[in-house]
Amino acid sequence: MLLSLALALSVQDVPANAGPVGDPVTGELPVDPYQQDNANAGARPFKGDKMAKAFGGKDGIKRITDNLVVGITSDPRIEEIFKGQDIVRLRRTLFEQFCYILNAGCNYTGRDMRSAHKNLGTQMADLNALVEILQNVMDQENIAFTLQNRFLAKLAPMKDDVVDR
């Protein structure tokens, strides 16, 4: 009992000294306050449920965003960008964003694209690499190429907000 108390205290001590404290359940780190709004997703959602169905609903979209996060954090071209970033938060907000845009029944609670990508130092080649990884992930889910492009058409206008220079 004493031991576990001591352990619990020491665990709590570490983050306090090392930096911000993560969420006790998810480990997600806090960010500066901002106004939550679906408009932060950077694109209007599709109408109807055709796209949501094609992407396998929430479950399919979750697989896509999880695999996308695995892909972008392990691709030698762009993995460096995500070192030191809150991957737990990225995994959650990316899912919310895709789910919201695909009209699969989610709200997007993350920051707007410009704030979320500020100071990441991303270049055009990084964005193109991400697009290629996303295309691979969508291929894995057997999503028709025309529907992949329809979805990418929602993301493409965000270029100026997600590329730094």
């Binding site: 270049q123 055009m124 080649a125 990084d126 964005l127 193109n128 690499a129 697009v131 290629e132 295309q135 190429f145 025309t146 492009n149 329809r150 990418l152 058409a153 493409a156 206008p157 270029k159 100026d160 220079r165």
Partner: protein
């Protein structure tokens, strides 16, 4: 025309030096373009489709690097064969400089004209293109990538261009081009206005007895993206008609462009050039291979 060409080189050099410092401060980054977004080599060596010019810039580079390409194209027609080889350099996905050598093999026509069987008409084409606005894939979905370009053409067979009645053996084309991939429909649309007096692209010289004035011609492209690696489509290109001895027709093609990998793009097309130097119905096949880095 020599002066135009000199002016062109000076202008292009100035453009490159003006954009280079911003990128030179950072480390140059090689590659990074999406597949097929560097197009293929047009018949004049600039980036385009097969017959039409596009506003895309050669090379695999993005705005953060320098890239380039080399290409070879073979087109076989009923009475002619057109071989083109060339190279292009892309600076920061902004400026493209290109050179191409065209050789029109006249096969039996050459013999009939007393030039000898398989006599080749040669032309050098020096091109420069500047992307002035927009992005073919990203940004505003209705805003195309727009480029302005210039092609200085030097026909090396002035005795032939004189014989057919052309006014000059050298000429310069000016064009403005808009290209956009409409992702939501997987459709690529290209439109180019070319200010020119070239006969058969310059292979039969520039201007003629019938007309010796510059005029605006149109080049249109429509493509459908079947996959990341494959685009099929068609192109149409209007032409001047300056020579009284040889009617000139519009050109069109149906093409497929396939990205074998990041460095190699293969294009094949069915091409109809119409009548060339009095020989009608010049239809045939075109194969083009371009290596990009």
């Amino acid at each position: 025309m020599k002066r135009t060409f000199h002016l062109l080189s000076v202008t292009m050099a100035a453009m490159i030096t003006s954009i280079a410092p911003s990128a030179a401060a950072e480390e140059l980054r090689q590659g990074g373009k999406l597949l097929l977004t560097n197009g293929i080599a047009s018949v004049e060596g600039s980036t385009g489709g097969g017959l039409a010019s596009w506003s895309l810039i050669a090379g695999n580079e993005t705005r953060d690097g320098i890239g380039g390409s080399v290409h070879a194209t073979v087109a076989e027609f009923k009475d002619y064969r057109l071989d083109t080889e060339g190279l292009a350099v892309g600076f920061f996905n902004r400026v493209e400089l290109s050179y191409a050598r065209q050789a029109l093999n006249t096969k039996a026509i050459g013999q009939a004209l007393g030039l000898g069987y398989g006599y080749k008409l040669n032309q050098d084409i020096y091109g420069a293109k500047l992307r002035v606005a927009g992005d073919a894939v990203y940004g505003d979905p209705l805003m195309p990538q727009i480029a302005v370009g210039i092609q200085h053409k030097r026909n090396l067979d002035s005795q032939v261009t004189d014989a057919v009645g052309a006014a000059e053996s050298e000429g310069t084309d000016f064009y403005v081009s808009a290209t956009k991939l409409f992702l939501s429909h997987s459709i690529l649309i290209g439109a180019t206005a070319r200010y020119t007096k070239a006969n058969q692209g310059g292979l039969l010289g520039f201007g003629g007895d019938k007309n010796n004035d510059y005029g605006v011609q149109f080049e249109g492209s429509l493509g459908y993206q079947l996959s990341r690696k494959l685009v099929i489509g068609g192109e149409y290109r209007t032409k001047p008609d300056n020579l009284s001895i040889a009617r000139e027709d519009d050109w069109y093609d149906f093409f497929a462009a396939y990205a074998i990998n990041r460095n190699l793009t293969l294009a094949a097309a069915y091409v109809d050039l119409g009548s060339i130097a009095t020989s009608a119905e010049q239809r045939g096949g075109l194969i083009s291979l371009r290596a990009s880095f």
